[in-house]
Subunit: 234 residues, 2 copies
């Protein structure tokens, strides 16, 4: 084999590898479309092959089992969730502002139809959260990421003396998540303005948690709230 031929082959391999990676990404993106709207169970190799106009055997070359496909789909959903909510919230101020941003971005990701349906992560969590296996673990981990981000932000807010030290950060996380879930329920039931109701409830709750040093009225001076209030009373 000449040097040239070796080089050529390695370039071909690289091309092949890149093509494979791209195909895989296309498959998982389509799988996420289906699962987000109809649940992971609606995902079959057969249906995916049909929608992507690929052969079943071609799909099998990328995902040797239904579980592998589900796992890749949940991983992508988790990344999308992080990119829309957890990562941007890290960019602002820690503490109170982050707590608000997390809730605001969570509501925003519904308004923006980031996922096609309500399955990730609410439906998936209730459907699979108690099961065993790698897929259930990923789903539970995504739920934990979310609740821990809220809890951490609440703890930071306490350290920064923005909210009372005598509340439990995990309970604050549970309560805020509850308000968001309740708003989402009402939204899915077709109740008009349910997501903004949730924003107001979160705001109200955070004001109630304000320390004496930080009077509840001064909450409105926090940048994120200002933005929200400006939008609301414009």
């Amino acid at each position: 084999m000449t040097h040239f031929m070796r080089k050529r082959r390695s370039r071909d391999n690289r091309k092949q590898f890149l093509k494979g990676t791209k195909t895989r990404a296309v498959i998982v993106a389509q799988a996420l479309e289906i699962a987000a709207a109809e649940g992971l169970a609606a995902l079959t190799i057969g249906r995916l092959a049909k929608e992507l106009k690929m052969s079943k055997s071609g799909l099998f070359a990328h995902f040797r089992s239904k579980e592998a496909l589900e796992l890749a789909t949940v991983e992508l959903a988790r990344t999308v969730f992080a990119n829309h909510i957890l990562v941007p919230a890290e960019r602002g101020q820690p503490g109170l502002e982050k707590l608000w941003n997390l809730c605001d971005f969570w509501l925003q990701h519904i308004e923006d139809h980031v996922f096609r349906g309500a399955y990730f992560f609410a439906g998936a969590f209730f459907e699979r959260g108690r099961q065993r296996g790698a897929v259930a673990r990923q789903i539970k981990a995504a739920a934990r990421d979310w609740l821990e981000a809220l809890e951490q932000a609440a703890k930071e807010a306490q350290k920064r003396k923005e909210i009372n030290r005598d509340v439990y950060a995990d309970e604050t996380a549970t309560e805020l998540n509850g308000l968001l879930q309740g708003g989402y329920w009402a939204h899915l039931m077709g109740q008009w303005g349910a997501l903004d109701w949730a924003r107001e409830k979160v705001l109200e709750r955070l004001e109630a948690l304000a320390t004496d040093e930080v009077p509840s009225t001064s909450f409105k001076s926090v940048k994120a709230f200002q933005k929200y209030l400006r939008w609301k009373y414009a």
Copy 2:
């Protein structure tokens, strides 16, 4: 055909009909076991046949399609939900007490493992709530039953001057449901005492809604609360 033979045949038909009804009930009960734990999608005629030691064709005689089976399963789940929460709550006082009972019984049905998993109706609602067809309609109807029961009780409480007239009953329903859902999330994440946290939050919320005529402290004289407080501080 003699009179005797006609009579005999009609008795046989009746027996056959009763046997059929019983078999059908056994099938749907098993279907509910599977779906409550793993979701409706985990329900297949093949799996049911295996678990019930029946032939697939025997099952097909009762349910000619996957959709018919899913529908019967959701209908049973809806009945179970009503029997554990909505119906008993109707038996007590209307208004405030009913509002409390609805929340309390809802938490109780989780503690009692009335359903094997978290699918009905939380998971099902998020997975199917936006889809079309008879199954999705039933799931949405169950969610509506629940939210409307809360809303009706809140309206009654307002008529009875137990809670403030200036709150919207539908928002009260959304908020209470949110607290319950938030508690359920935390419970599924393994947070100890999350369901009792939800009880306290509901109580706190109802006290905050109390009218001036009904001072918030007097909430503790309401029969259902008394029962809860007795249990809590026993």
